[in-house]
């Protein structure tokens, strides 16, 4: 493998240490000033559109939803709620009119939190795994030279270029009981109602729709790899499989991890496909209700409680991302110095 490392100027380990001779303090200050200019625009935009709603959601999550004033028949503000909105979701607890807390009955959204949590993670695990494998395969094929490569690239773009609002309706149309899929397969599967069929209908549709995203990002990673590395690998007698695991995978890892990370974040917030395909139904009623569907249902019943649920969802996703970055090494911002010393890969 020695030839391989030498032929790869981009491998972190082969980078000579650059900044060793300089005074670190001065460097940091100059860098810090540059960084401020460069990062501020992005942070300002994110602050307006994401920061503000998140902060206001957190504040509202500690307010009770409006209650009905029996005398006038009008809603009145609910007042301070403490953590009761959070308890409502996490403990699936409903407080009755007399103030007694009990388990939420089926049909109350509060009874669905952990079920929606499980469903969301189920979808995330399956779609991301499928999309990664398929996406890698597609990227490798697109990166090869052969007649008709243009057609393949065009075809791969299609699922993703169709607006989601249309895709969801297209799949709803395809998965209908009297639709084309059952007609072609000669089956009578209830794609939008059976517990597992409905789950997989969503997984299939999502995988179809989003694999191109993975494929394009992985392809961009592949394109940055110099072919000479492979040449060298071949001279070393590495088999195709060995080449994949020893060369391709490590070299596209940065792009791959970013792709997977963002797919996980998106999948954990999945809304439109299940909302249009199954309205969150299936199984005995809620087999495809995800956390985001629950948020929308709750917004219609009361925004403050929905804010608590959004905040919980946010925290859950935050924890997942944290674990991902820490333990899978998706840390894209490892410091330059450590990178140059080859401490982190």
């Amino acid at each position: 493998m020695s030839a391989v490392t030498e032929a790869a100027p981009k491998l972190p380990t082969s980078n000579p240490v650059r900044s060793g001779g300089r005074k670190r303090g001065g460097l940091n200050e100059a860098h810090g000033r540059w960084a401020t200019y460069l990062i501020t625009p992005a942070i300002v935009v994110l602050g307006i559109v994401i920061g503000y709603p998140v902060v206001s959601a957190i504040i509202m999550s500690f307010q009770k939803d409006a209650g009905l004033d029996k005398a006038t028949g009008l809603f009145v503000a609910g007042g301070f709620a403490g953590f009761s909105n959070y308890a409502h979701w996490l403990l699936q607890q409903c407080v009755s009119a007399t103030g007694v807390a009990a388990a939420c009955p089926p049909g109350n959204l509060g009874a669905q939190f952990w079920n929606a949590f499980g469903t969301t993670f189920f979808f995330t695990a399956f779609t991301v795994v499928f999309e990664t494998i398929l996406g890698f395969w597609m990227a490798i094929i697109m990166n090869r030279s052969f007649r008709g490569r243009g057609l393949v690239r065009a075809a791969i773009l299609v699922p993703w270029a169709i607006p989601t609002a249309v895709t969801a309706k297209l799949w709803f149309f395809i998965f209908a009981f009297n639709g084309i899929l059952n007609s072609l397969l000669g089956t009578k599967i209830l794609w939008t109602s059976d517990e597992w069929a409905s789950k997989f209908a969503i997984i299939i549709a999502d995988t179809w729709k989003t694999t191109p995203f993975m494929a394009l990002l992985i392809l961009a990673g592949l394109q940055l790899i110099s072919q000479e590395i492979y040449e060298a690998g071949r001279m070393d007698g590495a088999s195709t499989v060995q080449q994949f695991f020893r060369l391709t995978l490590p070299l596209v890892k940065p792009a791959l991890l970013v792709a997977v990370l963002f797919r996980v974040l998106d999948a954990l917030r999945i809304y439109d496909l299940p909302a249009i395909l199954t309205q969150g139904g299936g199984g005995s009623g809620n087999a495809t209700t995800t956390l985001s569907i629950l948020v929308v249902d709750q917004i219609r019943q009361g925004f403050n409680s929905a804010s608590a649920l959004s905040t919980i969802t946010f925290l859950i996703i935050f924890i997942v991302a944290f674990i991902f970055v820490r333990f899978l090494g998706a840390n894209v911002v490892q410091t330059q110095a450590s990178q140059q010393k080859g401490e982190l890969k």
Binding site: I48, Y52, G107, G280
Partner: protein, 423 residues
């Protein structure tokens, strides 16, 4: 200490907090808005979902020709009911004076009224509701106050195959006994709307009301679902699913899937709205063009209780020109314009006299049947907690129909879930 990071973090935090301060929950009562601008006139905006068959535009043109100083602008929303609802909520919460007259589904009326967003139609705003269907007026009334003008109505009807069934069934049992005919012809017997969405609430309520039960008691808040009558009603649906008189795939049906099954000859009885009539007569793929007719929904021992559909028109409390808005409501209610709703858009008028109109009957042969349906129709619960109530009904009915839960248990859970809704 690094200034850049600190500045960025602080900036976001301060910005976020400062902005968060300007928005409240926006759900408190209407305050003085309801009594403001009651006599002022001027241009207004009318907001409604998609104008499917070009009914509203000509009506507005007609109004504008007659009222050049009080013109109406038409704001068309999306075709999806949920999105129309959410769009209205957003604009009301933002106290938008740009939404003067809004078209609301009958089931949203109480919610919006209780939030203080609709102008009560009392005093200077009073409109004449005589001659309208009492059930439609009831569905526009909350807390003994009329909050909206009934605009169009809707009722369920039973579509049946005249080549297979000579006389339509009067009762549910009679219909079930005819299912052997469907079986002999290798087609499904009966279907309605049983997918998990608003249509399931409609169908479940029909079953419960048709058996003499009710979802909520007369006070409009206490659920009355753990009664024998309610159980009898829901039992009929569950049993029909179990023995196959309702085909298993009907659990995925919304209005359209049922219509397609009926039109392609795969269904003998279908519960649906009047819109199916013209399509089944004219669709290229319809194989039942000349072999179907409509009848009132069958009940336990006579005509069943359809769930009342339709829309109301209401005046926003934030409107600047409420006198014009009130005139526009009256304009929508005139016999002439109500007839136009029917002839142009196949929408059911709320004015009872029109159902004896010979021209209308010739054009829309289902009109007498529809009248019987609406006459016996029951509004869905008029409650400000409707989103929670319909969710409770949908979730538990769905489980019961799929056989995952006994009807008894489903009704018990439904009752508990409605109680937990905050009422």
């Amino acid at each position: 200490m690094n200034k850049s990071r600190l500045a960025a973090v602080a900036g976001v935090a301060v910005f976020g907090l400062a902005l968060a301060g300007c928005s409240g929950g926006g759900t408190a009562g209407g305050g003085n808005d309801a009594t403001a601008n009651l006599t002022s006139r001027g241009p207004i905006t009318y907001v409604q979902g998609k104008d499917n068959s070009n009914v509203v535009r000509p009506l507005i043109d007609k109004w504008n020709a007659a009222h050049p100083k009080e013109k109406v602008t038409f704001k068309e929303q999306s075709d999806q009911a949920d999105q129309q609802h959410d769009d209205l909520v957003q604009h009301f919460q933002a106290k938008d004076a740009g939404y003067d007259v809004v078209d609301v589904d009958v089931v949203w009326t109480a919610e919006f009224a209780a939030k203080g967003w609709l102008t009560p139609l009392t005093g200077k705003m009073k409109i004449d509701t005589s001659g309208l269907f009492p059930s439609a007026v009831k569905a526009a009334t909350y807390n003994n106050t009329l909050y909206a003008a009934p605009q169009t109505s809707d009722g369920g009807m039973l579509y049946y195959r005249t080549d297979l069934v000579k006389t339509p069934p009067k009762t549910w049992d009679e219909m079930m006994s005819m299912c052997s005919i469907a079986k002999a012809n290798n087609i499904g017997c009966y279907a309605g709307q049983f997918a998990k969405y608003e249509g399931l609430t409609v169908n479940a309520s029909e079953a419960i009301n048709g058996a003499g039960g009710s979802v909520l008691g007369s006070d409009g808040t206490t659920p009355t679902l753990t009664t024998d009558k309610a159980k009898n009603g829901l039992d009929l649906l569950a049993a029909a699913f179990k023995d196959g008189n309702i085909p298993a795939e009907a659990i995925t049906y919304q209005e359209e899937q049922g219509r397609i099954a009926f039109e392609s000859g795969k269904l003998m009885f279908l519960r649906n709205w009047p819109y199916v009539y013209n399509l089944a007569k004219t669709d290229g793929s319809s194989v039942v063009k000349d072999t179907f007719a409509v009848a009132p929904l069958p009940g336990l021992d006579g005509v069943g209780a359809s769930t009342l559909g339709g829309h109301n028109a209401a005046v926003s409390v934030y409107s600047d020109h409420k006198a014009t808005a009130k005139d526009f409501l009256n304009f929508l209610l005139t016999a002439e314009n109500q007839k136009f709703f029917a002839t142009q858009g196949s929408l059911a008028p709320v004015r009872m006299s029109l159902y004896d109109d010979q021209e209308l009957i010739t054009k829309l042969p289902y009109i007498p049947t529809l009248k019987e349906s609406i006459d016996n129709a029951v509004p869905r619960p008029v409650t400000p907690f409707y989103p929670a109530v319909t969710k409770a009904i949908q979730d538990n009915t769905y489980s019961a129909l799929k056989g995952d839960k006994s009807v008894d248990q489903a009704l018990k859970d439904m009752e508990a879930a409605i109680k937990s809704a905050g009422s």
